[in-house]
Amino acid sequence: MIPAQFDYFAAESAEQALALLAEHGDEAKLLAGGHSLLPMMKLRLAMPTVLIDIGGLDELAGVSAADGELVIGATTKHGDVATSELIRAEAPLLAYAASQVGDPQIRHRGTIGGSLSHADPAADMPLALVALGGSVDLRGPDGTRTVSADEFFQGFFETSLAEDEILTAVRVPRRPGAPWGYQKFVRRSNDWAIVGVATIDGRIALANMGPKPLRATAAEQALASGASAAEAASLAADGTSPGEDLHADREYRRHLAQVLTRRALEHQAG
């Protein structure tokens, strides 16, 4: 399978990429690792006529520590997030989630910003960002705005990233030592989650239980009121109406959410 034709620009700076986006509008897509976009283009699910390659921009890659949070450049690859000593020490849930994306080859190419922008409700990075209460920097012609994970994910493969904006960085709170859990149920080791659960310090997030990553608010409230892990986990699917596919029907997904939440809460690291 070969993508439809497009014009290719290797951006030399984020500034230039923004100018190209402004010039080409909704005909253009940003390319970094390409591990969400290129498969869609090969299947003709996406047919941008202009690709703006930001994958080579050093200014958009790397990890740094700021006041109370880590700032991770959007084009930082999953493999580098998974092995970053800073992230493993200060936000180990994020490092672990990155290690669960796809397989080694995919983690060598796919980027954290790309995965978040793609907003697959079954994916690891959106789940981790919602669990951690992180945010993203969106840079547009008028400057940069920081948007919380809850506000960023709008729906099924839908985010609040505007057509003329670039997701430039990801922010997660520094939480060394906070207890966290991560459970991902798959049939094949390199798959997306049939259901995924991430917990950290009383927060519970669910993957593939709806059109976007969700918080299990009823279970969180029960935990806060002193319920046991098992009691709280029994409420994990409350209010959700997950989709059905070859792998799981609705009731099975709701059952998995409860089982995986209990496991995540009972086997927390930190």
């Binding site: 070969i2 034709q5 290129l38 397989d103």
Partner: protein, 164 residues
Amino acid sequence: MARIEVTVNGAKRADEVEPRLLLVHYLREVLGLRAANVGCDTTSCGACTVLLNGKSVKSCTVLAVQANGKDVTTAEGLAPEGQLHPVQAAFRQNHGLQCGFCTPGMVMATVGLLSENPHPTEAEVREGLEGNLCRCTGYHNIVRAVLGAADAMAAADTDAEVTA
């Protein structure tokens, strides 16, 4: 068309390519390097695995233009003509293949894995090759081959140190 400069198996190349040309097709059809196979064509099977700047990638999901300015290594470039890289030798010795279609990808994924983790456990080998599918062997001999290659490469390193 776009101009790319790529170092493939140590040799510098410059070519005009269509931006939509996939790296695997550049290697196979423009350069005539046929080791990397197109299997699933959907980033699943790993038969097209090559090294890009030393890291394993699936070349069916990389554009040739994304390799501009980078080093690419295919199975053809692992060892001089007529010789085998220790990973290739270990796959032969342990019969880590049956039909052979997945083998170039398995070998390149293994070279990448051992560069990141020179002494993997059996479990780490199985996890490290999760991106490569084999429909024949059931994987046992492939895992033996990877563990054998790790031992052989560690022994060669020790020999080199003794000689030095």
